[in-house]
């Protein structure tokens, strides 16, 4: 990954120096090896802090809503999954595409620091990856972890490829993967209503209404969210009622249905690790099954399943009773 980072930095430097772009959006180093933050780089000097590694899981596309309105062109590094969000935002006229220069960068799946820490490793100073082995060095020595166990949830089932690129930096081939991203959804579907209710009740009772899932979501790009609007009548900040939790998460998931690219940021940022992606994936799975396979973000134009219809669509009652074709 070091070689990719070098190449990216080099390219960013060229672009800034030549004046082709006014700024580059990427990630900057944090205090540890695992806490980079999204950042804008406007000068070559600032690039000293540029980083690209196994912890750059953050999706940069949403930042472009604001940044692409700025004067001059912006170069952005997008991982495969980020490009879907980018496309979707272009489709919704939220990103000014002409102002953005997309550099597609390879992604070998990103790590979840909390999963690493859960394995009992702390004071981590660096990671080194060899196939499926991840050598984690810390102040207390070295530990080897199994890669699939420490991936961000969103990376576990990712089979995405770049949908947008003005150029690409891909130095390594990504290993083929065949994982069913709906496996968990199917597991829940196979449960009884009571079991499902109990599952979500327990999960959602952890919600602290911090809105991180909403604010990070590239599909949640409303200028004023209904939950922030005092006039909407639903802007309650109370978290103690089961209903409030469900209301927020049902409405949020529904509002992004057909537009959610399954980028998985919601689950990544949840401080209580609520598997929020399982809400969105249910919609994706239903849409795929009822209205034909659809991947939001594959196209930068056209209609979404919820803004179109066919005369022969399944009847809601049949869907509920499992009788839809």
């Amino acid at each position: 990954m070091k070689d990719v980072e070098m190449k990216m930095k080099e390219r960013a430097k060229q672009l800034l120096e030549s004046g082709e772009v006014a700024r580059v959006v990427g990630w900057k180093k944090g205090d540890f090896c695992y806490d980079p933050s999204p950042a804008t780089f406007e000068t070559v000097e600032e690039l000293d802090n540029f980083v690209y590694d196994y912890f750059c899981g953050a999706n940069l596309s949403k930042y472009l809503i604001q940044i692409s309105k700025k004067e001059g062109k912006t170069a952005v590094f997008l991982k495969p999954c980020d490009t879907y969000s980018f496309n979707q935002l272009v489709k919704e006229h939220r990103i000014n595409r002409e102002n953005v220069y997309v550099i597609a960068v390879e992604c070998m799946a990103k790590f979840d620091i909390e999963k690493i820490k859960e394995k009992g490793v702390s004071q981590i100073t660096g990671v080194e990856v060899k196939d499926k082995d991840v050598k984690v060095s810390s102040l207390y020595g070295e530990t080897t972890l199994y890669k699939p166990e420490i991936l961000l949830t969103k990376c576990e089932t990712c089979q995405k490829t770049h949908q947008v690129k003005d150029e690409e930096i891909i130095l390594h081939e990504r290993p083929e993967r065949d994982v069913d991203r709906f496996a968990e959804v199917k597991k829940l579907e196979a449960m009884t209503e009571d079991e499902r209710f109990a599952f979500w009740k327990e999960q959602l009772s952890k919600c602290i209404r911090c809105n991180a899932c909403r604010n990070v979501c590239p599909a949640c790009s409303c200028v004023k969210c209904v939950f922030d609007n005092p006039a909407s009548g639903v802007a309650a900040k109370a978290n103690d009622s089961e209903f409030e939790e469900k209301l927020f998460h049902v409405i949020r998931a529904f509002h992004v249905a057909g537009r959610c690219t399954d980028c998985g940021e919601c689950s990544r940022v949840c401080p209580q690790h609520i598997p929020l992606h399982l809400l969105n994936r249910k919609f994706i799975k239903d849409i795929d099954g009822l209205y034909g396979e659809f991947q939001a973000g594959e196209e930068a134009e056209g209609k979404t399943p919820l803004t179109s219809y066919t005369e022969g669509d399944a009847e809601p009652n049949d869907v509920l009773n499992g009788e839809a074709k």
């Binding site: 944090g30 205090d31 540890f32 806490d35 980079p36 933050s37 999204p38 950042a39 804008t40 953050a58 930042y63 909390e114 820490k117 702390s122 004071q123 981590i124 102040l139 327990e202 999960q203 009772s205 952890k206 602290i208 209404r209 911090c210 809105n211 991180a212 909403r214 604010n215 990070v216 922030d228 609007n229 005092p230 802007a235 309650a236 900040k237 109370a238 978290n239 103690d240 009622s241 940021e265 990544r268 940022v269 401080p271 209580q272 690790h273 609520i274």
Partner: protein, 342 residues
């Protein structure tokens, strides 16, 4: 000093629970937070940082305050405050305990907040010393000794025993209640643990953060710093940092219409939210940079200026771990705190 074998802890909890409520770190759906104890629940006092801090023991995330009933033109106000049942808050770390002091200065200042005060008065706090601090911890920078927290009772935990030392009258009363389960001893073990932990704490990367710059006289200089723009650019404007923070205390007061009148409740609010300062005729903080700046200025400058230099950050490091984009108070301190922090 007293002690109890680790495998007898459940008896201790059960004993406390006979006469008082017990609020303790419990694992639920994979996450450890403070919950009311009950038989069969998965207690996890070893967990260094609960996701939410124990502040919701005194300042619940949502709390009903009063109820309004209308009959014709007549309005009736029903006070929903009740006598608080005695509670034991168990396993509080040094940073979180210090945070309670920070909250006290707000809620117990005149006029006293009776919702907070009644819970505070009914609670006996049992603290737990840290023995395995992690790299995100920086309580030492705020002069907190994680190896010997205060509280009504201080405890230490090692592989075999929980060591117990009462510090206050409330602590003595609690000790008497569970006396039959405790035995004498532990001084040497505790001394050894304190020493060993102190060595680790000294080595933590943020232990020597320099806060000298954050003084009331630098208020305007810090406020006007051009660095806020860059520091806040990745901020999502979510409330994660404020909700996991043990000292954040901003709240909202709202009304909820029930079939039986209107309930007025208060709930946590976040200065990071765009509607926090929204008024009918405008908003005093319109950008995320301003909101971001408010949070850190409040913790490092405004609050100390109002409270004899006491910072409204205790170095628990929850924001370091939980910020979705890895922005946190340490980065702010390093950026603005001068070259001592390089």
């Amino acid at each position: 000093m007293l002690k109890i074998a680790k495998n007898k802890l459940n008896d201790l909890y059960a004993k406390i629970n006979e006469t008082m409520g017990l609020f303790i770190p419990i694992k639920k759906a994979g996450e450890v937070n403070y919950h009311v104890w009950g038989e069969g629940k998965e207690v996890s006092i070893e967990t260094l940082k609960t996701v939410k801090s124990p502040k919701n023991m005194f300042f619940p995330q949502t709390e009903n305050m009063m109820k309004f009933k209308t009959e014709g033109k007549n309005l009736e106000i029903i006070d929903l405050r009740d006598e608080k049942r005695p509670f034991v808050l168990f396993g509080v770390r040094a940073c979180d305990y210090k945070a309670i002091e920070v909250l006290d200065k707000v809620f117990l200042a005149d006029p006293v907040d009776s919702f907070y005060q009644s819970r505070r008065a009914a609670t006996t706090i049992v603290t737990l010393a840290c023995s395995r601090p992690e790299e995100g911890c920086f309580c030492k920078a705020f002069g907190i000794d994680a190896t010997a927290p205060q509280g009504d009772v201080t405890t230490w935990l090692d592989e075999e025993y929980l060591y117990w030392q009462a510090n206050t009258e409330k602590g003595e009363t609690l000790t008497k209640l569970v006396q039959e389960l405790l035995e004498e001893g532990g001084e040497t073990e505790v001394a050894a643990q304190k020493e060993a932990t102190a060595v680790i704490i000294d080595k933590l990367p943020f232990s020597n953060l320099n806060l000298d710059k954050f003084k009331p006289e630098n208020l305007n200089e810090l406020f006007d710093s051009p660095k806020w723009e860059e520091m806040s650019e990745a901020c999502l404007g979510c409330g994660t940092c404020t909700f996991v923070c043990p000292t954040c205390q901003c709240f909202d007061i709202r009304d909820f219409k029930t079939n039986e009148g209107v309930v007025r409740y208060r709930c946590w609010d976040s200065c990071m939210y765009s509607d926090f300062t929204l008024m009918a005729h405008g908003n005093s903080r319109t950008t995320q940079m301003q909101r971001f700046r408010q949070r850190f200025m409040h913790k490092l400058v405004y609050y100390p200026s109002q409270n004899d230099g006491l910072y409204s950050c205790v170095g628990c490091g929850r924001c370091v771990n939980k910020c979705p984009q890895h922005l946190n108070i340490v980065k702010v301190v390093k950026e603005l705190g001068g070259k001592e922090n390089d």
